[in-house]
Symmetry: C2
Subunit: 341 residues, 2 copies
Amino acid sequence: MSAPRQIRWGFIGASLWASRYLVPAVRAQPDAVGVGIFSSSRERGEEFAASNGLERSYASIDDLLDDDGIDAVYISTTNDLHAEQTIAAAAAGKHVLCEKPLALTVADALRMREACARAGVVFATDHHLRAAPTIAAMRELVAAGEIGDLVAGRVFHARGLGEEFKGWRLERPEAGGGVVLDVTVHDADVVRFLFDDEVAEVTAMGANQGLAGAGLEDSVMGVMRMRTGGQLVSFHDAFTVPHASTGVELFGTEGALSGRDVIDAEPVGQVFLRRGDEVREIEIAERNPIYVEAVRRFDAAVRGEGTPLAGGDDGIAALAVAIAAIESARTGRAVPVPTQI
Amino acid sequence: MSAPRQIRWGFIGASLWASRYLVPAVRAQPDAVGVGIFSSSRERGEEFAASNGLERSYASIDDLLDDDGIDAVYISTTNDLHAEQTIAAAAAGKHVLCEKPLALTVADALRMREACARAGVVFATDHHLRAAPTIAAMRELVAAGEIGDLVAGRVFHARGLGEEFKGWRLERPEAGGGVVLDVTVHDADVVRFLFDDEVAEVTAMGANQGLAGAGLEDSVMGVMRMRTGGQLVSFHDAFTVPHASTGVELFGTEGALSGRDVIDAEPVGQVFLRRGDEVREIEIAERNPIYVEAVRRFDAAVRGEGTPLAGGDDGIAALAVAIAAIESARTGRAVPVPTQI
């Protein structure tokens, strides 16, 4: 691929996330533009194009992918559609930013990676939290040795589910619904990012507390064991906990970091550094919009300048952890995360 | 047993806990007195008696149990000795307050209960946290419906282990060392107390991070599932996390309670009530010494006035959860907690 002067974006899936975050983030770039949308509902696509200032609404995904005026696509359809749409986009020479989870199986995610590699297109996963200024600061503090060697971690991502997100997430197992594929997959990426390590093993317990439909967890708690460091990291993910803040906690031999309200698509939240009984807030120098940074990194990667925020490999690794968590919750056994990926 | 005018205490085990908490708590009662000590080290027993103002140091446990001037014993030897010492004390007609964990197996704990029932003596477990003013306040707020129906909980009991507690806890599996029997057993009682429910199932992952000896966990994380309510409750217990506060969090349909620094033998810590994004601190009206209340309740039970803070049944139930956690950590399987106890 030659690097385009301007990155021209197509959107596959007329999702809330696309309109709320991705379209504005593309618009915020000096050298990118949102061009068109494909939605399985023609009506919804037309509305999305109109309300988001896109010039085209395609009648089919093939029409979008055949458009030489599109360089990159953001895929935010239901989870079961990501794999084939990514593979088709790659075959059409489009760079792909795919929503998490990449797919419903690791095998599908590996096919996506292979298709993108063969086509020579950028393949990235929308693990946007790496660009959260709080979480990025935590990673820098850890890398700088501020809390010594990591000994444990905790991730809290239990909230109530906003009315606007109820739907297939709660009702369609075959579409990749449930809290683990929606939320735990993010935890896995955050943990990999902060520990700079892979997850070796996961144990989890799930519950259906009456919000999700039959066969889907709306609440899960579990533990990951890190591969190199051997540390334990707990996670609590739920759609059923309306009165809670999100959080990420890292404990080290010389101190601890606590991020409060840091799991968010907006650059909000606070980070505290603890040493003994002393706790002080870490000043977050810049609170740039998370998705503007995510799209900037993606566009730069398309131009051959650096890597996306989270690559396909990151998405595959996080998916593998989430799938291990689902298997653990359903079998009652700790599940190893495959290493060959 | 006729109710004695004054409860006369004997101490089995010259532990730090006995000298720091139990002896002063007995002394603080208007109608109790500390009489004597048995330690397996005669020298240590003499020193303990002298420095704690006890008139007698017994040469053998039988000498203590044969003393008609002792009504009740506090047993704080290593965990492997609790069962036989409790059974011997009961046979001698002494009321028993036993340190947690009651024993190394549920079967032993059931034998202890049977021996105490047969002898007609009070059998209590030192789960002192029920008398922590913060935790008691949380229970009252839950019972009053302040946070609606409980949907989830978290317990954090990871700290560094004080130098004074290093020893058999880290080095002797056969004495009942390791973080689960020492700490998770407390979590189990706190969770049972706050949820007013039993634990049905436990999954756990353990680690040895170089502090404990071979074959012992110095760090554990896991999840309990409550029997009646089905809620998930996470726990993180460790000797290897020096920069952390303890905590207990309860999430409900109408609010949440967060107890910070509440797992302590002193009446410290704070409780916060959250509703939506609003958080306010709950005023803790009285911060009475925890062990003074624990001994008061025990002494009252001896007089036939009410029940001890945590009975033998409570200790058995908490032990069963801890043993399930150990089994889960070692087998990688979720382990049901037996119901027949």
